[in-house]
Amino acid sequence: MKCLVTGSNVKVLGKAVHSLSRIGDELYLEPLEDGLSLRTVNSSRSAYACFLFAPLFFQQYQATTPGQDLLRCKILMKSFLSVFRSLVMLEKTVEKCCISLNGQSSRLVVQLHCKFGVRKTHNLSFQDCESLQAVFDPALCPHVLRAPARVLGEAVLPFPPALAEVTLGIGRGCRVILRSYHEEDADSTVRAMVTEVCLGEEDFQQLQAQEGAAITFCLKEFRGLLSFAESANLNLCIHFDAPGRPAIFTVKDSLLDGHFVLATLSETDSYSQDLGSLERHRPVPQLQAHSTPHPDDFANDDIDSYMIAMETTIGNEGSRALPSISLSPGPQPPQSPGSPSEEEDEAEPSTVPGTPPPKKFRSLFFGSILAPVGSPQGPSPVLAEDSEGEG
């Protein structure tokens, strides 16, 4: 494999790597006919990210040398990121970036051609791996939101940088509400501040969602894609379904495609504390009758309607009895090229090996493209993973 990136695209590539580094510790690099794909997954399997750079993104793109199989490799994210660490430097001094993967040598070579004849060569060791595939299909999600990344970027500004999770929901009058989510700890005496941002329908280019639909996902991971989309001035699309089903965040332009798939908190996982599911199903007036000296007699602000809006009335999603991989329909994952037949049926159990996912996100949606007999399988709960069997 050999590809050459020039000009401002070097920075775009760098930014994409930065985004991916927010998710996982290992980067799966795979040159495909459609373009170069960079993928990663987090350790608890609750987040998956993928960038696909079309051949036109590159000045030169050669997926395979003739006579060679398509190579796939897995590199330490830290190593790859170190090449692109300083975006400022990339923008100012790097003229060309050449990435080549040679089957014989066990090194991924990234060469930066900089100004003044300086050439920086990085030889990164890699491991062979299976293709990292996630089974998901945005087209099957009933709810879609699309807005310029800038709008969403401004919307998340009020949230503290350390905030882990956020709830996105549709309120009355088609308003989109983002609300900070905190797991309520029964014994913690210090409550966290709750922040909520409300966006109007006009801010969105596409808003196709039912009132009351809401999902809770990891904000930190989302910020990774958001910052990329903002810098590239792209529109960000959010496809989501019921709580518990993964939410798909996409950016797209003529030269690249980015997908971030994040697990969402399922209804049964939320604590049934005062903020939890109990409250959710009650009709509005209950909120006000909640405690006696209710000081909110003053002018009607829409504060209360935001509270209403956050009531989700999605019917019971799963129970804990379900296997932890949600079976997403759609036999073909969007990025699957010719390699499926080379996949091995991993005997990996469908649960995450080792530690359970933190924060009760479901470990999700990874399907393996099963080897046998050519015909693409239906949904399968088996993880697709490299033969090393790492978690």
């Binding site: 919307a155 409550r191 501040m193 941002v197 966006l199 801010d203 000296p293 003053f298 504060i303 509270m307």
Partner: protein, 278 residues
């Protein structure tokens, strides 16, 4: 108990935000006292030695375009709330370029101070960010501990030099020692001194000016050049100096040595609208 206020002026909002930032730098939790014409931020650090207490007063009409409150009762028309100061400053941070800010006492699952910020947005719809800051209502019986501290007549009272300069001096001194001696006299001289086994560093400020004495009774026979000194914890002083984001019209420092030998240092910063005492 009810409270509702609205700030629409950008400069007022800015000022209020800076005050809240200053409070956040000084203490993790603070008490907010709401009365019909004032807002006070109170901090009472009852440590055995070197505790810091702070009292900050704002005239509500200098900030709020709308202000309504109903206190605990008709005779005690005040509200005392305890909150995490960082929450307030973070909430106000989002209001940097806001159209309006509303703040009110609400009870959404738990008592909170709801700060609602109306932001400018490109599209026609308004974008609103709401922060619910959890609060604790302070019971009436504890109010007496939170009253305005009596400022006893000081032995020496002196205007401080430019706080920025003072801050940079004290910051450097912090690396050498943890205690600082502040000396001042009625001749407009102020010294900041640190002493360790190896080294002794003093920074002298001259011609600072002394405010007129409050009462004639304070020892007239005191030699104007005689220095009054107090030992204080450098970090506390630095906290105060670091928090000063509002340019004061005057800053004062008062030494007080009372009969029991206990010394206090009172730093008072006044701006056009507010005054703070530490």
């Amino acid at each position: 108990m009810k409270f509702r206020g609205k700030i629409v002026d950008g400069a007022c909002l800015n000022h209020f935000t800076r005050i809240s930032n200053m409070i956040a730098k000084l203490a993790k939790t603070c008490t907010l006292r709401i009365s019909p014409d004032k807002l006070n931020f109170i901090l009472c650090d009852k440590l055995a030695n070197g505790g810091v207490s702070m009292w900050c007063e704002l005239e509500q009409e200098n900030f709020f375009s709308e202000f309504q409150m109903e206190g605990f009762s008709a005779e005690n028309n005040e509200i005392y709330l305890e909150l995490t100061s960082e929450n307030l400053s973070r909430a106000l941070k989002t209001a940097q370029n806001a159209r309006a800010l509303k703040i009110k006492l609400t009870n959404k699952h738990f008592p909170c101070l709801t700060v609602s910020v109306e932001l400018f947005s490109m599209s026609s719809s308004t974008r609103i960010a709401t922060h619910d800051i959890p609060i604790k209502v302070i019971p009436r019986k504890l109010w007496k501990d939170l009253q305005e501290p009596m400022v006893p007549d000081p032995d020496v009272s002196i205007y401080l030099p430019v706080l920025k300069t003072m801050k940079s001096v004290v910051e450097k001194m912090k690396n050498i020692s943890s205690h600082l001696v502040v000396e001042a006299n009625r001749d407009g001289e102020l010294n900041l001194k640190i002493e360790t086994e190896l080294v002794c560093v003093t920074t002298h400020f001259k011609d600072l000016g002394n405010p007129p004495l409050a009462s004639e009774s304070t020892s007239q026979d005191r030699n104007p050049e005689h220095m009054a000194e107090v030992h204080i914890d450098i970090r506390k002083l630095l906290q105060f100096l670091a928090g000063q984001q509002v340019n004061p019209t005057k800053a004062l420092c008062m030494h007080r040595i009372c009969h029991s030998g206990k010394k206090t240092l009172l730093l008072r910063v006044e701006t056009n609208e507010t005054y703070k005492r530490l």
